[in-house]
């Protein structure tokens, strides 16, 4: 499998693997609280707050979405983190502006921490609740549902196209056009077959459930991060 294929797989697992379950059912206010507590913890200087945040996010991700998200999320976060830290360190070794080994470790941990927090928070967004918010403000409420529906399809098409390109001995960039052609065709059919959904308006918000268990877990994690933030002051 090509690097692009592996990357697409990681992104799919990080964002589109699960349905309306787990932390997506937690209270939106607690989700915001967790995001705020992570940011608060990351404002503390040093390696330990970043490591504490990484540990918290990874522990939460094992509860939901699960091990596959854990590994994919970590690998995706590792890519920019390694790039930033390694370039800064190599630059320092060459006598250019950069950071020493401890500084590079710091960059690595903080980038992973920020990236994981963003990925995890994005994974907990509930398209159903987002759709209901849009309905309430009078905007087309099908957008979030359609985006979460279409993205994995688009990624699979891109992946198929790239892999076929590998079989045909072509460079990956050459395979973008066929993938776009398929997505245009997909869009045209979706527009045709769902026209009444796009032109009509739901009579009421979509039913959405809550999960006290996941709300509580996220609240405890937020409290822990705030406490750690105070501790690292």
């Amino acid at each position: 499998m090509s690097i692009i294929g592996a990357l697409v797989g990681f992104i799919y697992r990080a964002f589109f693997l699960k349905g309306e379950e787990g932390f997506r059912l937690a209270s939106p206010w607690v989700k915001l609280l967790f995001l705020a507590s992570s940011i608060y913890l990351l404002t503390r200087q040093g390696l330990l707050p970043a490591l504490a945040n990484i540990a918290t996010v990874l522990a939460l991700s094992l509860i939901w979405p699960g091990l596959e998200w854990f590994t994919s999320g970590f690998i995706i976060s590792l890519i920019p983190a390694l790039w930033f830290s390694a370039t800064a360190y190599v630059s320092w070794l060459l006598g250019l502006p950069g950071v020493d080994f401890t500084g590079a470790l710091n960059i690595l941990a903080r980038t992973i921490s920020i990236s994981l927090t963003i990925l995890f928070s994005a994974s907990t967004i509930s398209p159903v609740r987002l759709s209901n918010i849009l309905l309430r403000i009078g905007a087309p409420s099908y957008y979030p549902l359609l985006v979460w529906r279409t993205m994995p399809y688009g990624m699979r098409v891109l992946l198929d196209s790239v892999e076929i390109g590998v079989m045909k001995g072509e460079k990956p960039h050459k395979r973008l056009a066929p993938a776009v052609a398929i997505m245009l065709e997909y869009g045209s059919y979706v527009e045709e077959y769902n026209w009444f959904k796009f032109e009509g308006k739901p009579a009421a918000p979509l039913p959405s459930r809550g999960s006290m268990k996941h709300t509580l877990i996220l609240a405890v994690a937020s409290a822990l991060e705030i406490a750690l933030g105070v501790l690292f002051l």
Binding site: M1, G9, Y12, R13, F16, L17, K18, G19, E20, E21, G66, E68, S72, P127, V128, S131, S141, Y142, P144, L145, L146, W148, R149, P152, Y153, V157, D160, S161, E163, I164, G165, M167, K168, E170, K174, R175, A177, P178, A181, I182, L184, E185, Y186, Y189, V190, E191, E192, Y193, N194, W195, F196, K197, E199, G200, K201, P202, A203, A204, L206, P207
Partner: protein, 431 residues
């Protein structure tokens, strides 16, 4: 007396400067079935678009009227029409916008009938799957979801385009029983199918289209068509081209798709992989081609393999057939012309790929791969949704490959393909 559900009086419908259907008149009453058939390009889809009021979405027009329950389809609000007339497309996944079963079902219900009653999902066999992502549904399950939406909306007319194409035997039986129930409940069915014999038990009225005109209108039993020969002859060389050893595979977040699959394929043969919806036929082809890595087990191939997906648009590299073939022939005019003749592509060389029919796309992809000098051809549903004539032409293209000593492995639901070869690999148990 049978109550009228739908009345179509179509003088002309089509696309400005393009294809049109003409002079089509029919009525559909409660508990009646209308079957529309014809070759690819005969106007079936255009007619369905006219009936379902979607022709305008595709930039087309309708001269005439279509009435549903005595009211013109143009007078209905979108949700109101969908409440009375449900449309289940050939590729059911295009008919879905919700990311989970529950959100898709409820969104449609709230647009059409204003209430979402999840119990209808159970009637369609989708209970307990409300939170399941729709991307992970098989074609059969997706079709069931659309059926549930039609049921939930209380649609009195249900239009189905080639509903059997992506269904295995079990789901075909389920769909047939579902259709029988709809008829008993007094709903009307309009079914587009290239194979009218699929629906003989429902005793439908049959309309046969050719070049946009009705060439037969009457009892289904009163019409017959000569089915072209589709049998192929392998030129086996006795050597093993593909060997799969104890293949196991699972997608992230799902259970095992393939469990310990082992088989060999001889050079120069056609092997058809059959199996139920979600049994892993496409996955197996992708593993054989190296597009997916098996979780366990190994694949050995002799020669270069190419995978041609169900929608070959993902295969092509160039915008027109001529450019695609010249590109794959490395600008060798002689080889290009040879492929054009062998796969009978002369008439479509300068068409846009997006304007080609399914059959033409598949023949072109096979020809392109042939010019690429591949030895093993992994074809995903090569005859799916094609009428007998076009399926036969694709089979001729496959025969062309076999005559050149190439190895072909096809994944298919199509019984015609299964019957066309002596080598069928039947998925079951671990597959």
């Amino acid at each position: 007396m049978v109550k009228l559900l739908l009345e179509a009086s179509i003088e002309e419908a089509g696309y400005p400067g393009g294809f049109k259907v003409r002079n089509i008149y029919f009525e559909l009453g409660e508990g009646e079935v209308l079957l529309i058939t014809g070759r690819s390009g005969s106007g079936k889809t255009t007619l369905v678009r006219a009936i379902t009021n979607t022709i305008g979405v595709q930039g087309g027009f309708l001269h005439g009227e279509v009435y549903v329950k005595g009211r013109s389809i143009r007078e209905y609000k979108p949700g109101e029409l969908a409440k009375r007339l449900a449309y289940i497309p050939q590729e059911p996944w295009y008919g879905i916008i919700g990311y989970t079963v529950g959100s898709e079902f409820c969104y449609t219900m709230l647009v059409t009938s204003g209430v979402c009653d999840m119990r209808v999902l159970a009637e369609a066999g989708l209970n307990g799957r409300e939170d399941f992502i729709t991307y992970g549904l098989s074609a059969g399950q997706t079709q069931l979801l659309l059926w549930a939406e039609a049921l939930g909306a209380g649609a009195e007319v249900i239009v189905m385009d080639e509903p059997f194409v992506y269904l295995d035997e079990e789901n075909r039986g389920r769909l047939l029983r579902f259709a029988e129930r709809m008829i008993r409940e007094g709903r009307g069915l309009i079914i587009v199918d290239h194979n009218p014999s699929n629906w003989r038990s429902l005793n439908p009225r049959l309309i046969v289209l050719d070049k946009g005109e009705v060439v037969y209108d009457g009892e289904a039993s009163g019409w017959s068509v000569e089915v072209p020969e589709t049998t192929v002859r392998s030129k086996k060389k006795g050597r093993v081209a593909v060997e799969a050893r104890d293949i196991w595979f699972k997608y992230p977040g799902y259970s095992w798709v393939l469990k310990g699959v082992s088989f060999t394929v001889e050079e120069g043969s056609l092997t058809v992989v059959v199996g139920g919806n979600g049994s892993g036929k496409t996955t197996l082809l992708k593993i054989l081609g190296g597009l997916l890595k098996p979780t366990r087990g190994r694949v050995f191939t002799r020669g270069r393999a190419i995978y041609i997906p169900e929608n070959p648009l993902a295969y092509y590299s160039m915008p027109t057939p001529r450019e695609e073939l010249m590109y794959m022939a490395r600008e060798d005019e002689g080889k290009f012309l040879e492929a054009v003749e062998l796969f009978d592509l002369r008439g479509i060389l300068d068409s846009k790929l997006s304007n080609l029919s399914s059959g033409e796309r598949r023949r072109l992809a096979i020809a392109s791969a042939y010019l690429g000098g591949f030895d093993i051809y992994l074809l995903d549903e090569p005859t799916g949704g094609l009428d007998a004539y076009n399926a036969a032409r694709v089979m001729e293209a496959v025969q062309g490959l076999l005559d050149e000593g190439k190895t072909v492995i096809a994944a298919s639901h199509d019984s015609r393909l299964k019957e066309a070869t002596d080598r069928v690999f039947l998925g079951g148990g671990g597959f």
